[in-house]
């Protein structure tokens, strides 16, 4: 029941904030803070409960669910309120709450108009995202998947910057249309499973084994793929991201970059590949090609921008390309790498957006041609921005590096060509990150403005995040131990054949003789 409470607390917190804001906006912020902290406590308690249930041996090895809640919702259609958490979902829920706190702190000073409604939307997005990470009923997953959109739309449309109408509508239509395609795939799966076994249900665990004829399976898989690729975003479907990020308020961008993109990645790992293992295997080269294209294209696009926020938005395209690559490499290493990349990208890009937000608060523009020479006035902001710019270019010692490297280690095992092209991304990411720092903080001062440095509150938040990103880079083992049983479970569920791990000595002759494209975990 704790899982349902996690979502309910967020929803109730949002509503309460909306009403309380009428008397005193500060109370709205405090209720949200309290709700998030309560949620954090709940999520952490899930962690310990997981331990107790499976004895001190730590998390269950076979990826069984830590905690499960299965209540019938619409019995006529076989829809149930099926929430469950394993290592992977738990880590992502914790990330949701963590970034929720960060966005709350960034909105503390930035949002002054209509505070109540803002925090209502903020909390409901977080509830939707937490719901996506926890739901195991395909209908419920789709329900939360769409529910995230509306508050996010309001966040961008009302509190956004100049071009917010266009950006918010574009974001909404992109995600909604692709979501509907996913709905068709879910329904197709529902009916085929029903026809095969007579058991009409949307429950993920029961839908896992459906035998679908390849000619139909390709379309069902494509429906899921497009929905998750739009959300991820992979290259051909990415053009909503720069607009939405640039126009969203800082808190919105943090949630958009930190969490919404991750729901797409989570969808790939949890739903797409386990449900259509063979089709995903055949589709893997195309998907990995798109992933590599996103890495390169995102980096080149980022380098060309002169709007600072748009630049950071484009970097997300590049970083998410690594996640897609890792997911479709579909082996232990690559999945762990994808998870590390998800978490560290959430933190680093979230902080970059926070810094851009504070820059914009001070000089009221995002145009880099006007910026320059900010370092003398604001060395602390420069330092923090530098740290996270370095994190985004994959400097070792920080989470992003480990994420990208593990992904490439895993991908190399599947297909070396993709790994080599993808590692080109290191050079390109260096170019845009350093170029960004050069044009904003270094060089002579172009605009005639005085910039005050970070306040102690902002500095405290940044310090926590710097510690987090470095802790992820230097000692990621706890995160990996939480998630690895989940990945074993998922890989087991996907019933993929296991290639011999190159333990010591050369991998067996045949492992290398097989065509390079076969998907080996």
């Amino acid at each position: 029941m704790i899982l349902a409470w996690i979502i309910i607390v967020l929803l109730a917190g949002g509503l309460a904030a909306w009403f309380l804001a009428r008397w005193d906006p500060l109370w709205a912020r405090r209720t949200c803070l309290f709700a998030l902290l309560l949620d954090l406590a709940l999520a952490v308690s899930v962690f310990w409960l997981g331990h107790i249930e499976t004895g001190a041996a730590g998390l269950p090895e076979t990826g069984a669910w830590l905690i499960e809640l299965n209540v019938p919702w619409i019995p006529q259609l076989g829809i149930g309120l099926h929430l469950a958490v394993d290592g992977l979902s738990l880590v992502l829920v914790l990330l949701t709450i963590f970034l929720g706190l960060l966005s709350l702190s960034s909105a503390w000073s930035e949002i002054t108009g209509r505070v109540g409604f803002f925090h209502f939307n903020l909390m409901w997005i977080l509830a939707g995202i937490a719901g996506v990470f926890m739901s195991l009923d395909m209908f419920l997953f789709y329900f939360f998947w769409e529910m995230m959109l509306v508050p996010m739309y309001f966040l961008i449309a009302i509190w956004g910057h100049e071009n917010r109408q266009y950006a918010s509508v574009k974001f909404f239509i992109f995600t909604q249309a692709s979501g509907l395609l996913m709905l068709l795939s879910i329904l197709g799966l529902f009916f085929i499973h029903g026809a095969n076994t007579g058991d009409y249900t949307f429950d993920y665990t029961r839908l896992l084994g459906t035998q679908v004829s390849p000619s139909i399976a390709i379309w069902l898989m494509l429906g899921f793929f497009i929905a998750f690729a739009v959300k991820l975003p992979a290259v051909p479907f990415h053009s909503w991201l720069p607009d939405a990020h640039t126009e969203a308020p800082t808190a919105g961008s943090i949630i958009l970059a930190g969490l919404l993109l991750k729901t797409g990645a989570y969808g790939f790992i949890r739903f797409l590949i386990p449900l259509f293992p063979d089709m995903a295997a055949r589709f893997a080269p195309v998907a990995m090609g798109l992933a590599v294209a996103s890495i390169i294209y995102g980096a080149v696009l980022a380098f060309a921008q002169n709007d600072l926020k748009r630049l950071i938005a484009d970097t997300s395209i590049s970083h998410m390309g690594f996640v897609l690559l890792g997911v479709y490499a579909w082996n232990g290493l690559a999945l762990e790498g994808a998870l590390m990349q998800i978490i560290s990208h959430g933190i680093s890009t979230g902080m970059l957006f926070m810094m851009v937000g504070s820059i914009q608060e001070r000089i009221h523009t995002r145009d880099m041609d006007v910026m320059g020479g900010l370092w003398p006035d604001a060395p602390r902001m420069g330092g923090v921005m530098m740290v996270f710019a370095l994190a985004s270019l994959g400097l070792p010692g920080m989470g992003n590096f480990l994420g990208e490297f593990l992904v490439l280690f895993g991908t190399y095992r599947v297909s070396s060509a993709f790994a080599v092209i993808a590692s080109l991304g290191f050079v390109l990411s260096t170019i845009y990150s350093i170029w960004m720092i050069q044009r904003t903080f270094h060089g002579e001062k172009r605009g005639g403005y005085r910039v005050r440095d970070l306040s102690s509150r902002e500095m405290a938040a940044s310090a926590v995040m710097i510690a987090a990103i470095i802790w992820l880079g230097v000692y990621p083992q706890p995160v990996m131990d939480t998630a690895s049983p989940a990945f074993n479970g998922i890989q087991g569920a996907a019933k993929m054949q296991k290639a011999p791990d190159p333990v010591s000595g050369r991998p067996s002759k045949d492992a290398r003789a097989k065509s390079i494209w076969t998907l080996t975990p």
Partner: protein, 629 residues
Amino acid sequence: MLELLWLIPAMPFAGFLVLATAGKKLSRTGAAVIGAGSAGVSALISLIVAFSFISSPPAGNSYSQVLWEWVNTGGLSLSISFYLDALSVIMVLVVSVVGFLIHLYSTGFMARDDGYSRFFSYMNLFVGSMLTLVLAGNLLLLFLGWEGVGLCSYLLIGFWYRETQNGYAALKAFIVTRIGDTAMAIGLFLLFYNLGTLDIQQAMGLAKANWPVGSGIAIAAAALLLGGALGKSAQLPLQTWLPDAMAGPTPVSALIHAATMVTAGVYLIARTHVLFTLAPPVQSAVAIIGAATLLVAGFSALAQHDIKRVLAYSTISQIGYMFLALGVGAWSAAIFHFMTHAFFKALLFLGAGVVIQGLNEEHDMFRMGGLRKEMPATFWSFLIGAASLSALPLVTAGFYSKDLVLWDVWSSRTGGNWLWAAGLLGALLTSIYSFRMVFLTFYGEKKTPVTRTPGPVMLIPVIALAALSAVGGFVEIPGTMGNVPLFSGFLETALPKMVFSGVPESELISQIIAAILSVGGIYVAYFFWLALPEYARDFTKHPAGSALHRFLFSGWGFDWLYARLFVRPYVWAARVNKRDVIDLFYSGIALINRLSHYALSATQTGKVRWYVMVLGFGAFITITIVVFT
């Protein structure tokens, strides 16, 4: 005492943390004490560790210390572990001692500069990363140090961030080295895929056991690691960033771009020598690249005006020697040359720093002169450094190391007369440009007044390094003069012995020839730039001469080539696609919708009769569809 090993890199990192967080509140002296202090303590500990390693060598001549488990998932098990053997003892000694001296020097050099604590935090971070690189037990930790060092070189080159030129130089350095690092990363993937582990000793053992000499995998792995080494050690074709890196403060150039970072590539090849022995073509490529680089850099150094750029090109050239030695399998000779080079090149940079500050930031040698009397101490130590660089026979450390390299090249199985000849030509060029520099800066009449004389804290390191440059060579007395191979004996525990094919007495011949060339070079420099300076000047006026001068000045036009080949196309491609061409596709769809809206709403004319006509027409179509299909 070997347990203190982890303290060596930990101290500078701690210094960095203190300075980065509390930098603003510290006074100048406080920052200096912490900065130089942490480097000093690290140097002290490394001396203690080295002494205990040499006096009572641990089992198997190596000691490894595991701190904590870094990554253990899906077949990849790595830990933060340090590995100490003879090779890394020497590297640690050189890095920490030279580093400490340079820290001491920069407390004086940077006295008048704001951002004092920021400078020392970056320097500490650099020393920490370099020590991690040198001591790393597995390749991924080595890569961490490798990138950390690249980052610090970016931060320190662009330390005076106000001028955008420095920013661009730092950007260029970081990107070019990053290209090399990517190659190395791919090498890591390949090694892990094929060997299953990244622990260096394990990997090398497995490689030797499983891979036949000359197998494709070994060649690929060695080539990729070589790519990484080329980027970091500024060898052809990735050497363009080092001359521009002189935009940073001089102690930075001394520490990073002379003594330590640029030799990281040498260390990497030495550490993974097993791979290179398994891939002979790649090893000979290393030799050829080394030879080519030392010639290119040597010639370019001749035409430079800025004193620091001369030293930069000279560094590239000397590292070319080390690569040459590695290429022919003379592992210990390369490391020996690395050690001596670290001493005299750091000395030359620090001397240049004193000169530049004395003439309030005057870099052009042709506007210096006659400083012999003004700064005697600097002059003498600078002279020792230059002599050691040009391998003045018997007296200087440079002689012992460079001649050992030359002789090994000549007498090694894979070497050859051509490589040896290139080495000799390079030796000649070296002595010419080093003494050209000495004569231009310290001899002739004084062109700019000296405004600032160096304080004691700057002179002590210079003098210490001068001593090391003179004495440093006696560690390895060649066969012809008593044969006291202390240094290579010590290194044998870590690196394989040199395979001789030539006749032993040829060593004397090569030493004599090298000595003649070195002295001859000094005379040539004296002739052109002191006795008949106008002869050199009108040589450059002559059209062919000036073209050659410009060609050499620009470092053989690599910058020009790369700008056209890579930089401009990439910038053009980015700018062309700024509006994101894929977005046009989606706005096209939106346009179609808009047009069809206006077309359809035109049908809503408001006239009833038109509505009835449409109704009738609709009925007609319905009937035809129903009846006739």
